[in-house]
Amino acid sequence: MSILLEQVSKGYASNQAVVNNLSLEIETGELFVLLGASGSGKSTLLRLIAGLLPLDKGRIWLHGREVTNLSPQQRNTGFVFQSYSLFRHMTVAQNIAFGLSIKRAGRAEQDARVKELLNLIQMEGLGDRMPHQLSGGQQQRVALARALAPEPEVLLLDEPFGALDAKIRVQLRQTLREIQRRLHVTTILVTHDQDEAFELADRIGIIEKGDLLEIGTPGELYRRPRNRFTATFLGSANLLPAHRNSHHIFVGEARLPAPPDSEHLQDQPVEILFRPEEISLAPTAETPSETVIGRGVVQEATFAGPLERVLLKLNRESNGEKAQLLQALLSPSEAQQLGIKPGQEVWVGLKNYHLLARVS
C-alpha cells in the first residue's frame, strides 16, 4: 500500500467537517483521481496528505511510514498546484533543480537530472527561460518536473489543468499519463472534471461534502454505481423509482428481469438507473418486450455532435404518478429511421440498466 488514510478528519474553525472520517488505500503506481465539486473537500484532503494542513483526527501512512505528525518537508511528496506556483525569480532549470539543491545533491547530478526531466516534459533547451516567458501549459509542465525531480514517493496534483485552455488541457493529460506510467509513481489527482477523471484514472474516488462516497474504476462507477450521487455526478443518468422482488423489477406497470448483481436489494425500495445511450426507441411495442418500460412522447430533439439528444416524457401506464422526463442519445441513423420529431409517440426500451437502493 502506497498511501493509506485511516479515519482522517479535518474541520476549519466555525465550520462543519471539511473532510469527514475518511479512509482510503491507494496502491503503488496507481493513478487515483479524487473527483468532486468545488468545496467537496478534495483539495483539503490533498493538503492533509502533503502535510500543508494539520489534520484533526486520523492517521496517514505513505509507503508504510506513518507521516501523520511529520512536516511537509519530511514527507517526500511532490505537489503540483493549479496556479503552477513556479519560483518567479528562478529559471526553469533552477526551478526543477530546487528540490535537489535542498537535498545538497552535487552540481553534476542536478544538471543531469534537470536535463532528464526537461526531456521528459518535452522542453529540451528551455532550461534558461524564466517562468514569465513560458505559456501556461509549459509552466505547468515545469511545475510537474520540479515536483518529480527529487523522486517523491507520491505525486499530488491539485486541479493541475484547471487554469489551462481546453486543447492544452487534453494534451497535458496525455503527457501526464505517459510520464506517470513510465515513472510508476503513485499519484493522486484532484479534479472536478469527469472527462479528466475518466481519461486518467486507474480508480476514481467520488468525494462530496467531505465524505468519500464510492471508489471504483471509471467503468464500474459509470455502469454500476452504488450511490445516487455517483450515478448523477458521472455523466447523465435517468433514474426511476422501482421495486424488486426475487426475480423481477417493477417499474410502473412494466416488468423487467432483475440484474444478477442486485440480489441484496430484494424487496427494498430501489431506483432503476439507465444512461441516455442505454435507451432504445421503437415505433411499436414489438421490440423485445421485457425491456420496454412504457410509452413516451418526444419533447425535443437536439443535435449533440456525433449523437442526437432526445428528451422524452414517459407516460406511465399507471395514472396518478407524475410524468417523468428521460434523456436519450440516439445515433443519427436511428433517429432518422424513427423520424424523431417533437410530439411523436415512441415505445421506450432499455438495452441495459442497473439498480440502486432508494434513499427516501
Binding site: G51, R75, G78, F81, S83, F98, G99
Partner: protein
C-alpha cells in the same frame, strides 16, 4: 504615461506657478542652508563642525539609525508576515495600529515614554531609569519609524500568495531556507525601500527624541537636537553646518530611493 507639452499661455502660467511653488518650498530652504553654512567662510564652517559636540551628536544619530533600522527590519518583516500569512483574532486592529506612528505627534510619543520609564513611571525601577537615556531615544526612534518596512512588504507578500512557499516546503525546504531562497529574492526591493525610509525617519527624528532623551548636551543630543540648541545659542554656522550635513544625507537617500524605484519599474 502620457506627457503633454505646454501649448497655451494659460498652461504656461499654471506650469510656472507650480514650478515656483515647488522651488520656494523645496529648493529655497536648501539654498538657504548652503548659504548660511558658508556665510562666514569655509574655515569658520570647518571650525564649527570640529567641536566635539558635533561629532558626539552625529555618532549618536548614526547609532540610533543603525539600531532602529536593525530592529525595525526584523520586526517589520515579522509583523508583515504575521499580518499577511496568519489568521488570528484582533488581526484587523493590529493592522490598523501599525499606522499609529504616522498619526501620533512624535512629541506625544516622547512624553508617553517618559511617563512609562521616567521617575515613578509604570516600568521604572529604583536605581535604573530609562527616560532621558539612549534606550529611551532608541525606543522613540523605533516607534516613529515602525510602519515603513511593514507597509512596504505587506502587498508584496500578499502578491506571493504563499503557494510558492508551500511548493518549497514539499520539496524539503525549511521555513528559514524558503524565506531566504524563495521569499527574500522576490521582496528585497520593497524591503530595501522600507529600510531606507526607516533610516531617513530615524536620523531626522527630532520631537520624540528630544522629549524622550531630554537633549542633554554630549549625552542624549542627536544631530537634529544639536541644530536646535545651536540655533538657540545663536551659533548660526554650527546650526547651518550640521543641517547641511543632514541635508546631504537626505538627498543621498532621495537618490537611492529613486534608483530603486526606477530599477523596480524595469522588472
Amino acid at each position: 504615461m502620457r506627457e503633454i507639452s505646454v501649448r497655451s499661455p494659460l498652461q504656461m502660467v499654471v506650469l510656472g506657478a507650480v514650478l515656483l511653488y515647488a522651488f520656494l518650498l523645496l529648493f529655497a530652504p536648501m539654498a538657504a542652508i548652503v548659504v548660511g553654512a558658508f556665510s562666514q567662510g569655509v574655515e569658520a564652517l570647518i571650525k564649527a563642525l570640529s567641536v566635539p559636540d558635533v561629532a558626539i551628536a552625529f555618532r549618536l544619530t548614526f547609532s540610533l539609525t543603525i539600531a532602529s533600522v536593525a530592529i525595525n527590519t526584523v520586526a517589520g518583516i515579522g509583523i508583515a508576515w504575521v499580518l499577511v500569512r496568519h489568521k488570528f483574532p484582533g488581526k484587523r486592529l493590529m493592522d490598523a495600529l501599525v499606522d499609529a506612528p504616522f498619526v501620533f505627534s512624535p512629541v506625544i510619543v516622547g512624553y508617553a515614554l517618559i511617563l512609562l520609564f521616567g521617575r515613578n513611571g509604570w516600568f521604572s525601577s529604583p536605581g535604573f531609569q530609562l527616560a532621558f537615556s539612549y534606550p529611551a531615544m532608541l525606543i522613540a526612534c523605533v516607534f516613529v519609524s515602525l510602519p515603513f518596512v511593514t507597509r512596504e512588504l505587506q502587498p508584496m507578500l500578499l502578491a506571493l500568495t504563499g503557494e510558492q512557499e508551500e511548493a518549497a516546503y514539499t520539496l524539503g525546504s525549511s521555513r528559514w531556507k524558503t524565506f531566504r531562497r524563495i521569499v527574500l529574492p522576490q521582496i528585497w526591493r520593497g524591503l530595501l525601500y522600507g529600510i531606507i525610509l526607516t533610516a531617513a525617519r530615524s536620523f531626522g527624528e527630532f520631537g520624540a527624541v528630544v522629549v524622550a532623551g531630554g537633549g542633554i548636551e554630549r549625552v542624549t543630543e542627536s544631530a537634529p537636537v544639536y541644530v536646535f540648541r545651536a540655533l538657540n545659542d545663536r551659533n548660526q554656522v554650527g546650526a547651518y553646518g550640521v543641517s547641511l550635513l543632514l541635508g546631504i544625507l537626505s538627498i543621498s537617500i532621495l537618490v537611492a530611493m529613486s534608483l530603486i524605484r526606477r530599477r523596480g519599474a524595469q522588472h
